[in-house]
């Protein structure tokens, strides 16, 4: 079953030197069906074209480095198997960010939005000697959103984000959700106010692209809806 197969990798390139040229490169690669798309990229970089440039580190879907558009869909190259996207694999950088070189995009604006939602526990009460108590049920409420690896696959799949770059976007909201629903946190009101702003959750049109794109299986749209509901509950 694991017979090697021929695939064609078509990669959108950008050279920031030499006047900022954009073009497509095609590479023929022999791959095992169970190879990751990342393995195919490595094959190109190490054997065919050393100038091909992309991020990666952990290679198993935890570090969040190698999100890209694979055959039109936002995915991690290390979590996508060749057999699922072969024989023609088209790779493009994430949409909505400035492309720096090939598949490298500028992540700074993404992290700026993350930082804007106060992504840290706020609780100024005196620390107990041991742990704060939290029931398994209380923890379950925000379990899903703690899985986020900040890969930006969700945010860059969102058409609202494409058309309005001031929108905080799904990833920032997911990380706000993680604290808003944490029984130990005391800054929900401030976070909800941020998300009630022009750049906040009301931009979301419940398109579900973000949920489809999340390589961690987080129900992103549902998290956004829960935040919307929390804002409404506060109003009445």
């Amino acid at each position: 079953m694991n017979r090697r197969m021929n695939v064609v990798l078509k990669v959108k390139r950008f050279d920031p030197e030499n006047g900022g040229r954009t073009w497509w490169s095609e590479y023929e690669v022999q791959a095992e069906p169970t190879d990751r798309v990342l393995d195919a990229l490595d094959y190109v970089k190490w054997k065919l074209d050393g100038t091909l440039t992309y991020r990666r580190s952990c290679a198993h879907g935890i570090c969040g480095s190698d999100a890209m558009i694979i055959n039109g869909i936002n995915r991690l190259a290390c979590k996508t198997l060749v057999r699922d996207v072969a024989p023609n694999i088209i790779l493009e950088p994430l949409a909505g960010f400035k492309v720096l070189r090939d598949l490298y995009v500028d992540m700074e604006p993404f992290f700026e939005k993350y930082r804007a939602i106060m992504p840290y526990l706020v609780n100024d009460e005196p620390m107990p000697e041991k742990e704060r108590l939290q029931s398994p049920e209380e923890r379950d409420i925000f379990d899903d959103t703690t899985k986020c690896i900040l890969c930006a696959a969700c945010t860059t799949s969102c058409p609202i984000f494409w058309s309005n770059s001031s929108y905080l976007g799904p990833a920032a909201i997911v990380n706000a959700h993680r604290f808003i629903f944490d029984s130990r946190d005391k800054a929900s009101d401030e976070r909800l106010a941020i998300l009630d702003s022009n750049a906040g959750v009301w931009r979301c049109r419940t398109i579900f692209n973000c949920t489809d794109a999340c390589p961690r299986g987080i129900e992103v749209t549902r998290a956004i809806e829960e935040v919307k509901r929390a804002i409404m509950m506060k109003r009445f």
Binding site: D15, P16, E17, T34, R36, K45, W46, K47, D49, G50, T51, T53, Y54, R56, S57, C58, A59, H60, G61, I62, C63, G64, S65, K79, L81, L100, R101, Y104, M107, F111, Y114, R115, M118, P119, Y120, L121, N123, M127, E129, K130, E131, L133, Q134, S135, P136, E138, R139, F142, D143, T146, K147, C148, I149, L150, R178, F179, D182, R184, D185, G217
Partner: protein, 574 residues
């Protein structure tokens, strides 16, 4: 470009960020990372962080210390181990107070699970000591620490590769970093520098280690004459996904998973009758290699099975969701109904830059510190892991010694001044990069690296012999010669990852040599260092730490006695 900071931390994983939280707001601080923050390899740790909280079963730091020392085959410095096991409790509470979403017991406390080598009452039976957040504990530690760094406005330099350390007259004055985005070299002039750069497992073919773990955090100081301690001890984790090396947490066995050979036998009954599949990693990896060699691999191949099917869907999906996802994604296997094909995977360097228990790097085996230079986490050797690290203790190490190193640096910067550095401090490494970038040689990075990784796996992994190590050394010498003629195709200044990879390969070669030279000299078997030609532990000659140091005439080996406080070396049986 020139920068000036009281403290520079290299590496933004668990140790670096933990240290940063001790320094931020109190000293002028920069954190330099070759990745983006939150991409570091701490994030892939799965099963938990060990601390004797006693939330599930009676436990004590003394038992934790004993297990650590025994697990390390008595090569650990016991004063450092006792300190670590006491302090781990507070560092776990620190993390909880900062918001880490630990899994919880029914009464709302931090949940704990069993883990390899962790026992109650000095070896009686397994104990639940590993504090966890499902099977993404490292991810949650990394996220939580980064969140606190955001809160405190810590200054990061992402995708900056530290390529040189500035040492003058035995004092560290800063580092040189290569900025990937521009190709520019930056001199960071500092009163204090912490290396928290993680591991170096990428010189093995099958490894759980990320691409980033090429070990320049070890190699850069090593090249400048700083010793490396106990490099011969490299841990192979028993349960890597077959061929890929992706880690399946020991927590899977902590929850009750078992290992089976090709005949369906629970073979650990023969190797560790008391704690079976929860024996330390070195013992299980050796047992697995033996089973495979003796023809009891699955279908005659070089893998075995990790069976979780008896645990039930609820336990597997709730407590081990990530590894369930890995098995489904990469193997097309559902661990609820099918066993997972596994083989040992290169996982963790017990050795590294020698430090005292405040993280100060030592200049030699006499214990003299390199002023202004600290190390913590996997790139350091305190030594708390000895010849074999216990599961969960890497996360303990990075939290405890990250914190202590940060505190020690803070004291130091308050009472010290910036030393003088030359204005052309970055020139030597710039020349090295330029040589590679413009080389017209015919050797390729990929082929030298592939050969290094394949040969290291073959000759310097779980089983070693004098002949194999000697052949490996010859191979490294050959590869080093070829490396002088290595050339790349990418001549760009911006985002030249091919150039960086080529430079990293040079570090990997130097580091592999330190490992092999240290391993060839140690004519005994202890922990993860197993010599087929010397199969027994030899305390009368080898109860000591190796110090490998570059001199003009090659690598010099020195030795330092092991610190023993309360646990006299005994035969290691489980």
């Amino acid at each position: 470009m020139y920068h000036k900071y009281d403290a520079v931390i290299v590496g933004a994983g668990g140790a670096g960020l933990r240290a940063a939280l001790e320094l931020c707001g109190k000293a002028d601080l920069a954190v330099i990372t070759k990745l983006y923050p939150t991409r570091s390899h701490t994030g892939t740790a799965q099963g938990g962080i060990g601390a004797a909280l006693g939330n599930r079963e009676e436990d004590s730091p003394e038992w934790h210390a004993f297990d650590t020392v025994k697990g390390g085959d008595y090569l650990c410095d016991q004063d450092a181990v006792e300190l670590m096991c006491r302090e781990s409790i507070e560092t776990v509470y620190d993390l909880e107070h900062w918001g880490l979403p630990f899994s919880r017991t029914e009464d709302g406390r931090i949940d704990q699970r069993r883990f390899g080598g962790h026992t109650r009452n000095f070896g009686e039976a397994p104990v639940a000591r590993s504090c966890f957040s499902a099977d993404r504990t490292g991810h949650m530690i990394l996220q939580t620490l980064y969140q606190q760094c955001v809160k405190h406005g810590v200054k990061f330099f992402p995708e900056f590769h530290v390529v040189d350390i500035l040492l003058q007259d035995g004092v560290c004055r800063g580092v040189v970093a290569y900025e990937l985005a521009t190709g520019e070299f930056h001199v960071f002039h500092a009163k204090s520098v912490l290396f928290a750069t993680g591991g170096c497992g990428r010189f093995y073919k099958v490894t759980s280690n990320a691409y980033a773990l090429t070990g320049e955090g070890f190699a850069v100081p090593f090249r400048k004459g700083v010793p490396l301690e106990d490099m011969e001890f490299f841990q192979f984790h028993p349960t890597g996904i077959y061929k890929m090396g992706i880690l399946i947490t020991e927590g899977a066995r902590g929850e009750g998973g078992i290992l089976l050979n090709g005949k369906g036998e629970r073979f650990m009954e023969r190797y560790a009758p008391t704690i079976l599949d929860l024996a330390p990693r070195d013992m299980i990896s050796r047992a697995m290699y033996s089973e495979i060699r003796e023809g009891r691999g699955v279908d005659g191949k070089d893998y075995l099975l990790l069976d979780l099917t008896h645990l039930g869907r609820e336990v597997i999906e709730r407590k081990l969701p990530d590894i369930t996802d890995f098995a489904r994604t990469y193997l097309g296997i559902d661990p609820v109904t099918q066993p997972i094909p596994v083989q040992p995977t290169a996982h963790y360097a017990m050795g590294g830059l020698p430090t005292d228990s405040d993280g100060r790097v030592l200049a030699d085996e006499t214990g003299k510190p390199v002023l202004g230079f600290w190390a913590a986490g996997e790139c350091a050797c305190v030594s708390v892991h000895g010849a074999n690290r216990l599961g969960t203790n890497s996360l303990v190490d990075i939290q405890v010694f990250g914190k202590l190193a940060g505190r020690s640096m803070l004291e130091y910067v308050k009472e010290s001044d910036f030393g003088f550095i030359n204005s052309d401090a970055s020139k030597p490494v710039e020349a090295e990069f330029e040589r590679i970038r413009t080389s017209t040689g015919r050797e390729s990075v990929g082929s030298i690296r592939d050969e290094l990784r394949t040969e290291m796996m073959d000759k310097a992994s779980v089983f070693r012999t004098a002949a194999g190590l000697s052949a490996m050394r010859d191979k490294i010498n050959e590869l080093k010669e070829r490396y002088q003629k290595v050339a790349i195709t990418d001549r760009a200044q911006k985002f030249n990852t091919e150039l960086v990879e080529a430079w990293e390969l040079g570090c990997q070669l130097d580091l592999a040599e330190a490992l092999v030279v240290s391993a060839a000299a140690r004519t005994e078997s202890r922990g993860a260092h197993y010599r087929e030609d010397y199969p027994n532990r030899d305390d009368s000659n080898w109860l000591k730490h190796t110090f490998a140091q570059i001199t003009e005439s090659g690598i010099r080996l020195g030795y330092k006695p092991v610190t023993i406080t309360r646990f006299e070396p005994k035969e290691r049986k489980y």
